[in-house]
Structure formats: C-alpha cells, structure tokens
Amino acid sequence: MFFAGAAGLVAFYLWGLLGLPGFGNYPGPYGPAILRVAVAQTQATGVVSAVNFEYRGFDTVGEEFILFTAAAGTAIVLRMLRGEGERSPVDEARDRDAPPTSNAVRTIALLFTGPVVVVGWWLASHAQTNPSGGFQGGVVLATAFILIYLAGAFLTFSKLSPTDVTDAVEAAGAGGFAAVGLAALFTGLPYLYNYLPLGQIPGAVSSSGTIALISFFVGLEVAAAFLLIVSELLEQTLLIRHGGR
C-alpha cells in the first residue's frame, strides 16, 4: 500500500517537475516591469525594500500585524494568573552545583553586544539602499539583548528590557507603520501613498520617502516583539511560579 502510494507520488512529482520553467527563467511580467521603473519611481536602490514597503506595502502591514498578534498571544498565554507569585529558583538538590557561566562566554557575549546593536540599527535604517530592512535589523537588535542575558545577567536583561517598555515600543512600531499609511488618507491620497519627498539621488540614505520611515517602524516593532516573546519564555524557564490553581 505504502509503496503504491509512494510510487504514485513520485510519478506526480516528476510530472510536475517536467512542467516547471527552466532554471533561471522567470516567465511572469511583474519582475522585469518592477526592475524597469522601481529606482526611478522611488529613488530607492534597495528594490526589494521598495517592493516590500511601497508596491505591496499593504501586504506588509498585514505581515506586521501577524507578528504583533503572535507576540500578544504569547504574552496572554504566559501571563501570570491571579494568585500566582514568582520566585527565583533555588536549587533543591543540595549536592548539585549548577555550573556558572564561563568567562569565555561572558567576554564574547559582551564584546559582541555593541557591534550587534550597530549592525542591527544599520540594517533597519538602510532598507532603501541595501538588501536589508526593518525585519532583519529588528531581529539583530533583539539579539543584542539576548547576548546580555547570555553574559550571565537575567536581571540586567529584564531591567534593560522591561515588559512595559517593550510592549509600548512594539505598539508604537506597529501603529507607526499603519499611521504612516493613514496619514496619506487625510490628505486625500491612497493608503500608504509615498507622500514624502523622494530625494534627488537614488541610493542616498535620505532618499525614498516613506520607505525608510516604514522600515524604521518595522525595525522597532520586530525588535520589541521578538524581545517580548523571548523574555516571556525566559521568565517561564528561569522563575518558578507558585500558587494559583
């Protein structure tokens, strides 16, 4: 039975493979069309960002709120119930030593924190010129905070990224993106219309109008959302909850 099914699957799969366009051939009309007009229309040399934040900006708003909803969902599922308290874990087996963080890990994590912040910020703020964008930059920025945790200080981690602040930054990022689009409506333009001056030089950091602005907001949102998810999970792992039902 299985082999009959597998043989059928292989046959269908090969049949499908034969119908694929040749390697490197793209038959659709949109790719060449976008490549012809994108740089002239948006003054952005990072054409992928131009597509993401401009031509199909509405889709990206949707994706943005998928992440927002995921982070909110994590926070809700892992929330503290009424009557629950938290305490730091104390090792209950007396003759067991938890190995402390090694100095090598600490040093490397601390050495990398600064550069990682710079790289993340650079990625998030240069979407219009580089193959980067708010999404990648945001995740890299969040990684900097995780390095601080790796360097051995959960308390420093939670002090640097208190949930109230990450909540607010996440909301500001997601809301900022939507607001950039809505602002166009008030002036009678279509939603997410690129109403900012585009700049004169394609590829300059100050060029591309709303693309750079949206990327900035996406960076904030992604960094905060990811940080929120990780810190919720860390709290689950590191602190012991008691009480409740």
Binding site: S132, Q136, V230, L234, T237
Partner: protein
C-alpha cells in the same frame, strides 16, 4: 532576459554553477542531519548550523535579502525559542 552584467567581482558562469550545486548538496545533507539527530538540544544546534547553510544557499542564488532573513531567523531566533521551550518542558518531565 537582459545580458549579464560584468563587474570586477563577476564569477565565471561554470564556477558559479559548481558553487550552487555544492551548496545545494550541503543543504540536502544538512537537512538530513537535522532529521537524523535524535537528542533534542543537539538537534537544535544542528538546526542552527543548517540555518546558516540555508543562508549561504540564498546568497549563492543572488538573494541577499532572503539571506539576511534566513540568517537572523533560521540561525538565531528559531534556535533560541526552541531551546527555551525545550528547557521549560524538560523540567516538567523530570
């Protein structure tokens, strides 16, 4: 298709093909390795290495944008979330 752009960094076409095929094989081997690793924590580490390989694959196929996403998500974000989930559930099992 328009003609290929030649820059000082252009790699000969044959060499590029070899590189792409090599990376494709590496990715296939990496994926198999992830599936065949049985211990969870070890599997996450293999998955992280596999994420880096996937990023290299996207780079050789000229998609630097996807490379950055694959690097951040596949090699960093996903393993962290998985490790945290594993350490949480393991405590309960013991």
């Amino acid at each position: 298709m328009t003609g290929a752009v030649v820059t000082p960094y252009t790699v000969p076409a044959g060499l590029m093909d070899t590189l792409q095929v090599t990376v494709l094989i590496l990715v296939a081997a990496g994926a198999t390795a992830v599936v065949l690793t049985r211990r969870l924590v070890r599997q996450v580490l293999v998955l992280s290495v596999y994420g880096i390989m996937l990023a290299v694959l996207f780079l050789t196929f000229q998609a630097p944008d996807v490379t950055l996403s694959a690097l951040t998500v596949g090699a960093v974000a996903l393993p962290i979330v998985l490790l945290l989930a594993i350490s949480k559930t393991r405590k309960k099992e013991e």
